[in-house]
Amino acid sequence: MAAEKPMKAKHQRLVLLVIALVVLFAAALLAIWGLRSQASYFYLPVEIVAAPPEPDRGVRLGGMVEKGSLKTQADGVTIAFVVADGKARVPVTFRGIVPSLFVEGSGVVAEGRMGADGVFVADNLLAKHDEKYVPREMQDMTKQQAEAVMRETT
């Protein structure tokens, strides 16, 4: 093995530095690749209808829970509802315990996947907790679409 003898000081420092830099550079490349393929993008209903993501890709969908759309299925733990932004409507299903502030007519961010059949399957729902903790996307959304939502819900 080349490493049997202690190397000259200058060389050793250089070799260590080069190895460390190569590994860190590789880590950086991997990170960029991983982020491109794994980061979950935020969609509004109108965007997700216009250009749906691939079915196996994790994304987040934010909008208003349409009034009168919320239904509990026979198993008692799966719910179906429609997320809308005034321009488009997306049916969503979710299996789980819903957050307490999740109600019809309020904002929601659903994490999950867009199915090939156009139904969004959510793994997790983020509802408005209190005025101190609002998902950032939702703050924006409520500002932009307050009017549209008002029209729709009144």
Binding site: E4, V23, A26, G34, A39, S40, G96, I97, V98
Partner: protein, 648 residues
């Protein structure tokens, strides 16, 4: 009254920090030498004054003085006392006051007891500590004053976020901050040594216990925080790659690397510049974490409030401190002379490998945490979660574990794998055995599979450094290393087991109905309303049985707080030696059925047990090293005394 006293103490402490910086810097020169005597006392008083301010804040929370804005915003008179007190740091201003208090006390402690460093390095270190403190005092006094009064006293306070109303709040933030901010000492040490160019084994030996102390608190804090999130959020997970969790993990990774490189510097006088670099990086990560959490630019349960002004203030502090330290490093690194040489296959080589891998993981986590910010600047809203973090960090974690199995058995300077190869047969067999066992047992996904098989091999390999040793005479630091490395194996086993074998059940049941989850049968007997000091709840009574054994009762709750109005679910846990049953009560359906979410998580408790073992290992090593330092000082004193007597 307390509020004014606290504010005055804070201003005084800030003024003393300025004095400490100026006197420390001047005393390093020839002309200011007479100032050297005041530097240490000033540092001690500065720390005590910060502590006084902190106690004042606790006092106003204790008595719920609603004329103080912070109390009115975050507390309530009907809250249990323990949450009133802990609520003092459950908000932005209070947590920043805790931050400067810890920083001041750490500086005071160093000034009081550290006698191993050359005087000039010591002065530079204490001045450096004051230099960082000043920025955070300024931030507190100008942008987040915790003692601000209200012109109109409200009748009642807004109350504390119910998720925080848990005993976890009393322990987790202070422990974490002791670690997080304790790393400022490592930063100041590195700066001090870079200024005076006194980088050597003696310096590393002096710095190591401080880093170790902070690292122990950080380890305990992260472990406790993980368990808290696990039972409090009711999501059944123990790590969410939330930006704030990452903000505590990143300094931990850097500090772990620093501990290992400092031990190379202490024993072998190598890796000089690199150790200094890590000293700077570790605390920089703490500051970046604070920026991420406190500026409110990221979505997180930990982000108390969004305030862009504060964000820019912390960003400016970051630029000054991290930028300044890196410039200093850049100027001095080339003048730090090269240390001792070593072969690639040697103890040093293995530790370098550990350092490079830890740095790579740190980079991966840092990138992933900052990416949503970069993306948002370019107009895309993204979030980054486990699908990125898990495989990417495992890519570097697994090779690190493999070298961890070998490293402690390698000799310093130069060694061959052939010499240690024979000893590794046993762990290798264990890995092979567990591969077969897991495959026969139904298999698992790639990451849990790797985790399960590596954990056993690592546990055995971790014990090997004790072979051929007289266990009674084995020094404490060796025990510490062995236990900490075993802790990694234990935690890894817990993590892998949890993700490979967890059974989840989500059902709606009528009262009286029984359901199965893994080996457990769970019967819902009733749901009753109950009341607490500032909440009401629906409480389910679950009769649970493990594989037909004795019956136990679990009572998960769905709580409604009224200040602020919010619901939380209080999960109920039942631990056995081989895992935990986790129950959450959901809502009532229109047909009268109750939603239940149940998990059977085999060996999940090993995750936190492992975390505590890692911290215990650090503690043993710290005790062992400190004891031998004290013995050395005492022996030196005796020799000097004897010489004096003989000379007479």
């Amino acid at each position: 009254m307390s509020a004014e006293l606290g504010l005055a103490a804070l201003w005084l402490a800030a003024a003393l920090a300025v004095l400490q910086l100026v006197a420390g810097a001047l005393a390093m020169g020839e002309r200011g030498a007479s100032l050297a005597g005041i530097v240490r006392p000033v540092a001690v008083v500065q720390g005590l004054l910060a502590l006084v301010a902190f106690f004042c804040l606790i006092h106003v929370f204790w008595i719920t003085d609603l004329s103080v804005k912070l109390v009115a915003m975050n507390s309530h008179s009907a809250k249990p006392l323990v949450f009133k007190i802990a609520g003092a740091w459950g908000n932005h201003e209070g947590s920043m006051l805790l931050w400067v208090t810890v920083m001041g006390l750490a500086g005071a402690f160093v000034a009081l007891v550290e006698r191993r460093l050359p005087e000039r390095t010591m002065l530079a270190t204490i001045a450096g500590q004051a230099f960082i403190s000043i920025g955070f005092y300024a931030f507190l006094l100008f942008a987040s004053n915790p003692f601000e009064r209200l012109a109109q006293v409200p009748v009642e306070g807004n109350g504390l976020n119910p998720l925080l109303q848990d005993l976890g709040l009393a322990f987790h933030p202070p422990t974490l901050y002791l670690g997080y901010v304790g790393l400022s000492v490592a930063f100041s040490f590195a700066i001090g040594a870079l200024i005076t160019r006194e980088v050597g084994p003696a310096f590393a030996r002096a710095m190591r216990p401080w880093v170790m102390g902070a690292w122990i608190f950080l380890t305990v804090g992260i472990t406790a925080g993980s368990y808290w999130a696990y039972y409090e959020l009711g999501w059944g997970g123990w790590w969410f790659w939330d930006p704030v969790e990452n903000a505590s993990l990143m300094p931990w990774l850097a500090a772990t690397a620093l501990l290992h490189s400092a031990s190379v510097l202490a024993s072998r006088n190598a890796l000089r510049a690199w150790t200094m670099m890590l000293g700077v990086v570790a605390f920089s990560m703490s500051m970046i974490g604070t920026f991420l959490v406190r500026s409110g630019i990221l979505t997180s349960v930990h982000a108390f409030a969004v305030d862009p002004e504060r964000g820019s203030f912390i960003l400016a502090l970051l630029a000054v401190y991290i930028g300044g330290a890196l410039v200093l490093f850049g100027l001095r690194a080339s003048t730090v002379t090269e240390g001792e040489r070593f072969a690639l296959v040697s103890r040093e080589g293995a530790l370098v490998f550990n350092n490079v891998m830890l740095s790579a993981i740190l980079g991966i986590v840092l990138f992933g945490t900052l990416y949503p910010l970069l993306a948002e600047a370019m107009g895309a809203k993204v979030s980054v979660g486990p699908p990125y973090f898990n495989p990417m960090s495992a890519l570097f974690f697994v090779p690190m574990l493999l070298i961890l199995a070998v490293g402690p058995m390698l000799r310093w300077r130069r060694d061959t794998f052939g010499r240690v190869g024979k000893r590794l047969i046993l762990p290798a067999l264990a890995v092979a055995g567990s591969v077969i066992a897991v495959v026969l047992g139904g298999g698992a996904d790639l990451l849990p599979f790797l985790g399960l098989t590596l954990a056993l091999g690592l546990a055995i390999a971790g014990l090997l450094p004790l072979r051929d040793r007289n266990l009674r005479r084995t020094p404490l630091p060796i025990w510490g290393m062995v236990i900490a490395h075993l802790g990694i194996a234990v935690a890894l086993f817990g993590m892998a087991s949890e993700s490979a074998w967890t059974v989840e059940k989500l059902v709606a049941v009528n009262t009286g109905e029984t359901t199965q989850v893994g080996p457990w049968s769970v019967r819902l007997t009733r749901v009753d309303p109950v009341a607490g000091p500032n909440w009401t709840a629906l409480e389910a009574e679950l009769h649970v049985r493990y594989a037909g054994g004795a019956e136990t009762v679990l009572r998960p709750q769905s709580r409604s707080f009224w200040t602020p109005p919010q619901q939380t679910s209080e999960s109920a846990l039942l631990s056995r030696w081989n895992g935990q049953l986790y129950a959450v009560l959901g809502g009532e359906g229109q047909d009268g059925r109750w939603q239940l979410r149940l998990w059977w998580k085999p060996f999940v408790t090993m995750i936190w047990l492992g975390g505590l073992m890692i911290a215990l290992g650090g503690l043993l090593s710290l005790i062992g090293r400190t004891a031998s330092d004290i013995r050395r000082v005492v022996a030196r004193g005796k020799i000097a005394y004897r010489r004096e007597k003989q000379g007479r």
